[in-house]
Symmetry: C2
Amino acid sequence: MIGYVVYGRGCFNQLDEILSPQRKGDAPMIFLIDHFFNGKPLVNRIPLRGKDIIIYADVTNEPKTSQVDALAQQLKNEFGTISGIIGIGGGSTMDLAKAVSLMMTNPGSSADYQGWDLVKFPGVYKVGIPTLSGTGAEVSRTTVLTGPTRKLGMNSDFTPFDQIVLDPELIKDAPVNQRFYTGMDCYIHCIESLQGTYLNEFSKSYGEKALQLCQRVFLEKDVWDDESDNQLMMASYAGGMSIAYSQVGVAHAVSYGLSYLLGTKHGIGNCIVMNHLEEYYPEGVAEFKRMVEKNKVEIPTGICKGLTDEQFETMMNVSLGMKPLWENALGKDWEKIMTRDKLRKLYEKL
Amino acid sequence: MIGYVVYGRGCFNQLDEILSPQRKGDAPMIFLIDHFFNGKPLVNRIPLRGKDIIIYADVTNEPKTSQVDALAQQLKNEFGTISGIIGIGGGSTMDLAKAVSLMMTNPGSSADYQGWDLVKFPGVYKVGIPTLSGTGAEVSRTTVLTGPTRKLGMNSDFTPFDQIVLDPELIKDAPVNQRFYTGMDCYIHCIESLQGTYLNEFSKSYGEKALQLCQRVFLEKDVWDDESDNQLMMASYAGGMSIAYSQVGVAHAVSYGLSYLLGTKHGIGNCIVMNHLEEYYPEGVAEFKRMVEKNKVEIPTGICKGLTDEQFETMMNVSLGMKPLWENALGKDWEKIMTRDKLRKLYEKL
């Protein structure tokens, strides 16, 4: 778990104070910030000192192992060592920050560590500051990366941030559709966790709370206000805690195939898949559709049209490789339930 | 926050595996266990290795600074250094383990550190394993101690456990009245936190979840089963998290006076006070009384009968010294609301 969690409106202003005791000599703090903020006022509020620098993270595509390796190499070449790295952005930026932190101290390529408990050494000090809520990347023990052969995270005890700063003011200006897709990532986490076979009371408590908060902001309320930001930020945190102690399910497993082949971003990919999962999550999907309608967001359709057999095979291989997700969703005998034929039909519908 | 949290029925069996990587040479692990378990089967399940020892903690009274100092001195004399300390028991045992861990590395007496952020150095590795649920001591950044001049915790970033092991099987055999009093500590945390002026969405989310779990186990269900243990253990955790990010209120402030003067234990003391707080928490007190009735537990009355003026003064001084609690409960102008006269009348009713 994260050692230090600060939550509160305006707490971003405490960042200088939070970082001070973590500075090691004149080694800089690296602020890795979503390129969306280039030229925006938030950049002027970053407490730069000494050799600190801002790097804009291009998150047009989800993080790649090659991107992580290049960033870590660049920092090593320029500074030797750094005091820490602060990821400011959505799930992609936070995952990138976590991965770069680990690659400052672990040899080889980040692709070598895609999997479970392969990371050898703690990374440099790392801080996560979400500006979008829903992914749970601020609390997870993974960092989802697309590598040469797979889309899979560096799952390890060294992966979580040392500190997170949860300031609901920072998510206020998120584009409405982006906020919805990312928020639905959280909603889908809850449905997948709560209906999964891995569920225990710990993840259930977090999942139920996150679900209730999602229902409040996306269904019960008619206007989006500061309280909505406060609640969505907590929903993301609680949803992330819930899956940390259980697992996600069908929507994520299928969506990973889309991301790998088509580069579909995680939030929207989950929504595209969830739209067709009545068979597995009947109530959750019905509620999801009410949320889509109420929030007047369009979910893309027909994205698999015209793909070749080979491309379908690639997606299915990626998806069926996510064994723990399928087992959580469908039980030990999942392979008998989700046959290749059935999965192919599902992809064809998307 | 706690770095490592394990939750699950039977997870106590993983203790040996959890402790192994934390052992430093042949320095022992110290298992500090509530004397209630002396001769009980749980003791045989403790994974002793090498020079490890079991110490039975006498928690007839709540922990004292003198007891903490003596225990730490005894361990230093016998072993020089230790690998870690594992507190197995209720809130008192866990607080004792946390305090002894800190006093293995900090000079002087634990009484020197009663207050906020006075502890200078991290303690030795410490693990909390609750066998009673409700106090939230497993997640708090304090350790409540009665010292020569005050009842106050060592509140610091070094105070929380490094690891907690939450195994609902361990709370199964708790005496029913003790389970109720301790469970009500959690319920009261929720009411005090949710109605306090310090509330934010973080503590609210945890407080609401803990409250709901308390309602399930103490009101909605007619039998106590494994699920009740699972849920009460999560309620304690979430209630503790809620107050970690807000504060307790009137029941705790008044109850501290009782503990200091009369040695009233924390859980029952809170119940005795809560019984008379309709004015401050009308709905919470009404629901509390329904829980008392449903669970057929008797709350002592008349415990302040025959006390001298001087004794009342002592209790009032201790209670009114808990400024953050009063401010959370009644706002900035709390001194105008809770006058000495009014507090005296409240104590006389208990």
